[in-house]
Symmetry: C2
Subunit: 382 residues, 2 copies
């Protein structure tokens, strides 16, 4: 009975926080509309300031260990032939979002494109040429309203799965991630606290792996039971949903995040995004970046350290080499001796290595020896 009452109280708290959040988002949309309307009524040109999501407006905050968006913004004006379309697209999407919030529904990015799509009366001009145009406007709205996509009731393609020593509540359903079989819990696109609450967590850390097939190996070997952790995978470059969930597990529950990624520029880039955030989503770093994340492998040294055979070598091509050098020159890797040595050795090796290649040692080498040894020796890159 006490349990039921607690659940009801929790549910009502969640409902309350959703309402507060929606009220806040709504008032921002109304403010935007008001500013446009008041300028128009006063005979002045309606315009909207859109913060710039460019490399030049991205700042590396060394102290906080994350990328941040600078102050530069561009005006989007109605009476400017180059900007009028985007101005109207912005208003159109802002209106759709208002409708979504009122209807208490969410919509996919593709759905938003169709929702905003129509032929402008008296012309043959469509409101949006394609979904890319629509997606861009939605990101503009995120930054200019200071509201996340999730707060705008918009979701994206779902990616990634989770299993392990944690119970969560997802839209009111209690999900015991200790009993999710071989499939696991599919991580949704929106994982904000009003959708997902952490209930009972015994896990001491999170092991995040790049690919679901590697995740399958760890799950089958019950790694998360033996090592008391949570096991996640992001299907390659993790989605915002997966990154946000990891960040919340790190931030709210204090769990260290260990990343098991390939030894190649792509794996290094995935880690960079998990840790510092990305340029295009720098305005989201507060919510997505995990400066505390750790890269547990695969490492360039493993070829000799783990006594691997030549079969694990995947030759680096020119694109790989160029990309590796670019990543080494990222400000956050530039001052980091460990990462400079790591990338330097990879370049000198001249080959990449995949997590799966550890199978050449033994099927369960990665779950029974590699990761446990690295964790024990605290041997990782930060």
């Amino acid at each position: 009975m006490a349990k039921k009452a607690a659940a009801a109280a929790n549910a009502s708290n969640v409902t309350k926080s959703v309402k507060e959040r929606d009220t806040r988002t709504m008032s921002r949309i109304v403010d935007l509309a008001d500013s446009v309307a008041s300028k128009a009524l006063a005979g002045r040109e309606p315009k909207v300031a859109i913060p710039l999501r460019t490399k030049s407006n991205t700042i590396w905050n060394r102290k906080r260990g994350m990328l941040e968006m600078g102050d530069a913004a561009a005006e989007r004006e109605l009476f400017n032939l180059n900007q009028a379309k985007q101005f109207m697209q912005t208003c159109l999407h802002a209106n759709s979002i208002k409708e979504l919030i009122e209807a208490e529904k969410t919509l996919s990015l593709r759905g938003m494109f169709y929702k905003g799509l129509h032929t402008v009366q008296g012309t043959k001009e469509k409101t949006f040429a394609d979904q890319d145009e629509s997606d861009g406007i939605l990101e503009d709205l995120e930054v200019s309203l200071g509201s996340l996509r999730e707060e705008l009731h918009i979701f994206a393609k779902k990616k990634g799965t989770m299993i392990g020593n944690i119970t969560i509540v997802d839209t009111g359903d209690e999900i015991d991630c200790r009993r999710m079989g071989s499939g696991g819990y599919a991580i949704p696109s929106i994982v904000e606290p009003d959708v997902i609450q952490f209930k009972k967590c015994d896990a001491k850390f999170v092991l995040h792996v790049e690919k679901d097939t590697v995740w399958g190996r760890f799950n089958e070997d019950k790694f998360w039971q033996k090592h008391n952790c949570i096991l996640t995978e992001g299907g390659g470059q993790p989605s915002r949903g997966v990154r946000r969930l990891l960040q919340r597990l790190n931030n709210e529950l204090g769990l260290p995040i260990y990343c098991l990624l390939d030894c190649d520029p792509w794996g290094h880039y995935i880690f960079s995004v998990i840790k510092q955030g990305s340029i295009s989503l720098a305005f989201e770093s507060n919510r997505l970046a995990i400066p505390d994340a750790k890269f547990i492998g695969i490492r360039s040294k493993d070829y000799t350290a783990c006594d691997l055979s030549d079969d694990v070598k995947v030759e680096m091509n020119d694109t790989d080499i160029k990309r590796a050098k670019e990543i080494a020159a990222y400000p956050w890797f530039l001052g980091h001796k460990g990462w400079q040595a790591e990338i330097d050795l990879m370049l000198r090796n001249g080959f990449k290595m995949e997590v799966e290649s550890l199978i050449t040692k033994d099927i369960s080498y990665v779950t029974e020896e590699y990761v446990p040894q690295r964790l024990k020796a605290k041997d990782w890159l930060v």
Copy 2:
């Protein structure tokens, strides 16, 4: 207590059936090895017969409503310069599978590639040039052993999610798909009866949608609660795991499978594969094809029937037109008036339509009107 005893009995039945299956697979591998060894010892050339997975060896079984593999097979000989490598690759993988079964472990396709990869002693020749070569040999082994990939302990990339009025047991964990929040249960690659058992199913049908974003719309609108069904998505072309799960739901629980796919050649092809099977996996049709599956939409007629605006039209390009004509000429569509009319109207319309485009009517039009009306009117293509 009775419940516990039943669960234990069930678990022991599952263990028993796994053991029987593994024993069966193992004896087939041993037979293969024995036949090679006995030929070699008798001074004859070792060879293996591999059934042909080609279009010419694929038969459309009209009566059963599925594609089947014919009897044609090719000999793979050791003393044939063109075949020696493949012969040895086949033996190599057969040996790896034996090891997997003995270790009671599964491995991904990529993992199998690495497991079999080594440099042939005294040469610079690798056993496999790339994963494609390895995957092909594994399919050869499936057909020649008459054992499914899943029975060979090999899994693939995971795709797709499920939610709805069913409780399943996955590797011993009871999963109530009625309480899976916004994320859902991630469908694993291997869904054979020894991994997944159906426990309590109240659902009357399965609605399978193409994309996870559409699935999100149906889940948010609690369609599966209102209409007492199971809701699945396959992330585009469904994986073998998703197809097999649908087939088992259809076969073992007698649930009709309604497919909500785009009105384009890709959507039609997805349906064709779900229903009749595919050429490359014709040897699997018994286990994967669902001749009873129904295509509930989107239909070419919907543009006028649902009074849609021009915004839903996505122009067909030359590739689309060519592909549509190819699909119309499939033997199983050729004799089907409904499908001929459907594809013909799409070609005359000159445009494709996506499920998501129904949002131009209303956010929840697809969940509240479109699908319920089609189900009620039994308006679908078989």
